[in-house]
Symmetry: C3
């Protein structure tokens, strides 16, 4: 139950776990607002996001600001005990702006200029656009930076699309000049003797995100990341001096989307937030959990789900709904993976416009939609379990490395069309998560010492500094796994002067002889049993000499296939210092990957948080020095019983009764707190 | 047999049912013409279309007209007892025109200007183009408006492509200004507060037919309809004052094509005409019959098939031929559905050019092609049965509503990719046509009182006026069926302020709780038996109160699926006044749809025209106060016997013998006239 | 074993069969070159291609030439007994060139200008580009035209892409004016009365390679051929006067690629060369052999494989490797079909750039890749068998006609999507090659008298002159087969004024009544047994009269299908003079095609070179007046024994022992020389 709050309540007074929704008061007469806020309050909604896309309503003419309606909306929400996250409206500039200053419009990679009427039509490099974005953010911050009912800021919306027009080109050339100093240096790094690509000056470099030297493509992606970072900084500079320190600044990101380096972007933000859309009825809870873990890894702390779907979306071909009960299942999964807020998009459809068919909490007639009671239940439960969850976060002994340079480099040159680096990462993640019940997804630059096991699924781009760091991790007792395609490329996307894993070859004591794309499975056999490789296969040979050679163990070898692989090693492992390094040269299919994951966890001494849990029941733990909260989610369509191995309190049921087991119905959730006795 | 005609024969002297062909005399030396016309006459061809695409031959230089060849072609045709429909040549402007006045070239929705060398390269809004089109039409009309051998006019050819260039943009902005008066009104109607789309003036509105606010998209389609109408009116103004009243004016349309509102276009035309192409060997006679019914509905009277295929076409990937006998089958189907003329495209291929591979009646060597004898037989039969058919037309007790606003609105936002509104219309049409043997396809604005049963398959856009009209229809004894997605949108494509069916919710006494896109079938059960829903499912709940609530009957409910649908009503029906209203929330698969159609026909008291006909035998009746002609077509590949239940004359056999049954061979046709005794 | 050669060795001193590789010394420090050349020499590599794509390294600034590195690379190669083919670098102009002279950049068929950073970005018509290309070629030729270690010249690389920009347009218009003289003549030839396409002058003709009159499309392709020819001549004029006559000039072509007429191009080249890529692990040896035969036919003499893959490529979606042993299998197939050199692309990957993933002989670390030993073995074998193969070439009694006009005409208007003229050619080629073991693929303009059997698979465009030539061939004893779609079109792509086979109809004494596209198989029956037609079917009728009619024999007729084909003749044959003419109206599926091929070979008196060979074992013979070399390749995955029917020496084994049979392991090869006793 929400604690009573005065009108001047600020963020720390909010319940620790927040249910929320995206609300667009500017689309409705203010006479309707109270009815909507009443329904929100009844659903235990404690936060709304407002302002996103409302630029025309805030600044209807250049330099003329009309914030009255927003003042009123925030105040009315506060009266319903609902706080506000303010969105800067820069994802959708007003028509007057782009009409008067057409240079602010974005040009796509085929030279076509964006038009008004949709969104994200602006150029992320244009100085005039940045000036206007700064100004509207500054005006908003001045007005609401000390408003007790405003708890934070979302910058723009789902930033994504770079600009290939004149200002984008000039910015890229300046960025290259800054990075390389001289064109001769760039030519050398990019090996432009190839295809006579040699440049005489930076302005000759083409600006295109395909069909180019991969060195150029990789630098383009880095430039885009840096530019989005400065794009956000421009607004942060307008906002930060004008707001209370308690107000956070974030932006809403998009899971696996790889348009920029999330770690770079988040270096200037306070908290991570993402938009969690399944978009069909095919809810893959492991993939969705991995996206939560990914987002948590941007700042290595709890995060917000800024948008998620009330049953279905409207932007896919066929937008099938989640099943009844899965909205709650997903909400608790978010919390289990470290979310502190879950906000639904959207409260109610606009009276017209591109997204009339998107799922909502309130129907066309202003009455609760069928999903409303399920969301209301979530809100009630968040309130009930909130104080127990306060200050807790997930903790993992296993980390999977997410490396944008490597993902980009592989995507530029897939070689095997099905080698999607995210799917390859999930091939490792899924069995590790299922077995260990806690996995962090982190940058290769993260502190790794806290982990017993670190898996780099396809660390294609590997610098000497990273290699040194990873070797030190192993020496000090870490267990490191490198997946296929690791260590092939230098920072500039050029080939390493050694065979894979490049600078780590001596440390591994083995090398990849050659890579092979597969379109048919290849058999594997060895100490981990028989299995199959798919999509990719690298035969390994031992390069260590003498006694060292004997220390390199072959875990799996290829069976008979195309002759090149027959009998060659597919997985090798070596003890080094206090730890181990293992190289997996093949994309393993699930049965063998599961055995491999179990083997590595066992080597690393990682145990499940709760052993003996039935398949399809997800286990999440949030804890701190004083608390231990267990969240169980039954993703199955039949009930499952879970033994707890310790006495706990069931926070969503009779809170005072100690239980040793729970039975979860279809899509059922239990939130349990360790009894103080333990 | 064609009646003898003097050289000065005019249209009323023509046989009532006309066989025809598209003839391009300008492509051949005049020395060849007599040979072609001899072959036409032998095939009982009584009409040719000439002039279409011949602008370069009529006006080889600006302002220089050369009609001598056309005079001669018409005269020679007349000598072979063949009349002429003249096509205005505006679908293919001469090279000199677009070279000198490049503004007359069309710009497509990606900003690319059309080039010479293909067709339809003109801008439908350009004033200069309209000036030239007016002038050539005026010159033709002056010359041939009183020519006794010219029976009618076809304007342009298969009008379709709008112009997105500067004149198109300006015209759209003017159209919007005319519709909305003020930009504030447009902003309000379109709900442009959404995504900050708010416009400051009409010129800011983007001109694009995708990725925009559906309100804009719907108005764009209406603008396109209005513009095509004025494009045709421009030529009509040039022609009408110069021609005999007996000469009709039409244009050749394209079945389900939805580039504009056919009802609007036909308000300025005398007769409807269409181009009936199957384009493969997959002749779906129900779909083809529906397209005839659609065309008949444009003017609610008999129509022309202006083009149809002699066995195969050339514009699909693989252009398989109709089977031997199906050309005749199709010709008689056209007559059965109300066509008074069937013209084949084309007589003979051009010596070169884009359509060398299209089916023809005469081969490359000028001799009859294999299909010639079959078409000759059709001609003979048209002549034999013509006088009996004169003055007759089909009559239906069932109407299916074809609503362009709704089709457009759904196509802009399919939500379920497979929700093709035409396919959904056919899901209702097919069993209704099979069971009742006569269905009209009409506008929602048509007079409905003549129908016992009216089905609106997906009346997505529904105004209050239309709702009122439909309710009155029911009150007065009509039986009305609304299909899924009905009553969701307002005239401006915005959401109705009530749940579906919007303004008709109180009258129905039930509402749609939510819509769901499906990618798997969902079971249904109820008084109509078990079945399945596909693609779309809306659960309904009763909103009527008290005694009224009891009057709302559930005909089918959803079985177990995603939780949201389980046990909810899928079809509800209610007696109101002297009639009934029924709402079908799901796209029913054929077996259940057949039972539903039978149920509704029975409720409405609609009986088949001829009961007990074997499956695959199509029944058509053309009649008037004095005549009753039965056309039977066996679409099966084996013979079928049909009992007639009355004594009739077989017009294609021994005309004087009375028969009580006929046996139709594979693809066989019988045309029977009620004996005068009855 | 390579013969010892002085540093001044020139081409005639080279071994007769050459193993080679593409080497890009400019991508590596010269300090590395010796190590690479050592590894090449160890692999028995005797030739490298250098210079292709090295324009920036040869002319780093306009007019400044730096050939020192190239001098050194050639000299160092010579020290390793490796000769050089020099590539002119015009496929990749330097950035300074296209920056300063942007008119040299190519425009594609959608109006988009190419950019630097990829390759083939130049306009093939631009005079300024031709000036630069001439100059660099002239500078190279002056410097290396008498260098004893340079054996030949490759012009540009894989020429392919025309220019649709202003210079391309002007050139096309000039070409048309030259061909047609007056626009009236063009209008008449193209039948532009169709769709009012009539042109007033040549500049109005659109420049586009789709959606146009097929007459225009065909002329466009001829223009492109002529322009590529003059593009090559421009460089030849710069080179020829400056080089020794022993240095040959070629360009590397691309198998079935139909961007221009290869026979036209090769009229100005000394030798044919092609790039043989399988690009997956799906090695179809019949198709690959046909591509060798095609290339041999460009000059009707032995040729070079200028590039081929060391196991895999990198430009397909999934680049699976050839199986171990197949690289050697392919190398010997090339020799068997008349190649005198086989060069691998590429020696080693560039340190960066678009093709980092392509197969190589040397890995990222500079050490031999897994394929190196296999290629080394090929080199050893080439050396061992070389002197025996010297001066030999394949000889065939069967020719298949490859006609670009016909392939283009069919591809512009497929009518049946699957009617790929190359696949249709292979439908004839495959069984003919398997049965006869030697097939030439030649132009319709080649000397045909040497052949017992000539097959024109789909001679769609057929002039009177060609018809006369083919008839004379038959009269003099030749056996001629025309495939479906033959004789339909005139030189201008217009329809022949007779039914197919057009001008040859009287000679055949039969005509095609109509063509039909198929999407389902149609049964066939007749003296050759039962079978099926797919994709295309033409019913034939006899037009010869009296006694002549009886001479036209029906070999196969259509069974029951769509009515149009039922019972009609599908294949007819007639004795004329000393030979026979046969028309095949249907695309036959393989089983029947095999019987048809056997029938024709038997009629023509063609016998296999070596009877009784197991399936999957390819037989190739190279011979001259004094030599007879048999090459056997087992494409099966199990061993096969082959009886030789004569005593031979096994050149790859104990050369002095006479054998009467050989057993070939999986992918095994035997090269056998007839013993002098025979």
């Amino acid at each position: 139950m929400p604690r009573a709050r005065a009108q001047a309540t600020n963020y720390p007074d909010q319940p620790p776990i927040l249910l929320g929704a995206a609300w667009y008061p500017e689309q409705w007469p203010s006479s309707r607002w109270n009815a909507d806020l009443d329904l929100m309050e009844k659903a235990h909604i404690h936060v709304v996001r407002i302002g996103e896309f409302a630029w025309s309503s805030m600044e209807p003419k250049e330099g003329i600001y009309t914030f009255g309606w927003l003042d009123q909306a925030i105040a009315m929400a506060a009266q319903h005990h609902i706080a506000v996250v303010l969105g800067t409206p820069t994802a959708a500039p007003p028509a007057w702006l782009t009409t008067k200053y057409p240079q602010t419009l974005r040009t796509n990679d085929h030279g076509v200029k964006a038009q008004h009427g949709n969104r994200a039509q602006y150029s992320f490099t244009d100085p005039m656009y940045r000036k206007f974005a700064y100004q509207i953010a500054w005006e908003m911050a001045k007005r609401y930076g000390h408003n007790p009912d405003v708890v934070g800021w979302q910058l723009d919306n789902e930033i994504a699309n770079p600009d290939f027009g004149p200002t984008g080109q000039a910015a890229f050339h300046a960025w290259l000049k800054n990075r390389y100093g001289t064109i001769a240096n760039l030519n050398q790094q990019w090996a432009t003797a190839y295809w006579s690509e040699t440049y005489d000056n930076f302005d000759e470099v083409p600006v295109r995100d395909y069909n180019e030297n991969p060195a150029l493509l990789l630098d383009w992606q880095r430039f885009v990341s840096d530019t989005w970072k400065s794009y956000l900084e421009n607004q942060i500079e307008a906002i930060r001096p004008n707001i209370d320190p308690r107000q956070f600044i974030t932006t809403n990101t998009m899971g696996w989307f790889d348009g920029f380096n999330e770690y770079e972007i988040h270096s200037v933000l306070d908290v991570a937030a993402w938009d969690d859309y399944i978009s069909t009825d095919h809810y893959d809870y492991l993939d969705n959990g991995a996206r939560h873990d990914l987002t948590r890894g941007y700042k290595n702390k709890n995060f917000w789900v800024m948008e998620t779907e009330p049953v279905f979306v409207d932007w896919r071909g066929t937008n099938t709904p989640l099943k009844k009960g899965q909205v709650r299942d997903m909400a608790w999964q978010a919390i289990g993976h470290g979310a502190d807020a879950v906000e639904y998009w959207q409260w109610r459809s606009a009276p017209n416009g591109q997204e009339e068919y998107h799922g909502v909490l309130v129907g066309a007639d202003g009455e609760p939609a069928p999903v409303y009671p399920e969301i209301q239940k979530i809100g009630q439960e968040f309130d009930e379990a909130g104080s127990a969850l306060e200050g807790t976060t997930p903790h993992s002994e296993v980390a999977v490395i997410n490396d944008y340079d490597s993902r980009w480099a592989i995507n530029f040159q897939r070689q095997a069309a099905k080698f999607d680096p995210v799917k390859e990462m999930l091939a490792f993640y899924d069995p590790l998560r299922t077995a260990s019940q806690a996995v962090d997804v982190v940058s290769v630059n993260a502190a790794l010492d806290q982990y017993k096991l670190v898996v780099a699924p396809a660390l294609n781009v590997l610098t000497q500094a990273e290699a040194t760091k990873l070797e030190a991790y192993v020496e000090q007792g870490g267990h490191l796994v490198l997946g296929p395609r690791s260590g092939m490329k230098k920072l500039n996307d050029g080939l390493q002067p050694e065979q894979q894993p490049g600078p780590m070859e001596p440390f591994l004591g083995a090398r990849v002889e050659q890579f092979y794309a597969l379109d048919k499975d290849v058999p594997l056999e060895g100490p981990l049993g028989v299995g199959t490789a798919q999509i990719w296969a690298e035969p390994l040979s031992v390069t260590a000499k003498g006694k060292d050679a004997a220390a390199v163990k072959v875990l799996e070898s290829y069976g008979r296939s195309n002759g090149w692989l027959d009998g060659q090693a597919a997985i090798v492992t070596r003890k080094m210092g206090k730890g181990t390094i293992t190289y997996v040269g093949a994309w393993l299919t699930p049965a063998l990957m599961k055995r491999f994951a179990d083997y590595e966890l066992q080597q690393a001494g990682v145990h499940p948080l709760l052993a003996g849990v039935p398949a399809g029941v997800e286990v999440c733990v949030r804890s701190n020095a004083h608390k231990y909260i267990l969240i169980l989610i039954n993703h199955n369509t039949e009930a499952r019983r879970v033994e707890l191995h310790r006495a706990m309190y069931n926070l969503l049921a009779n809170k005072t009764a100690v239980v040793n087991a729970v039975t979860l119905p279809k899509y059922g959730v239990a939130v349990l707190e360790a009894s103080s006795a333990q």
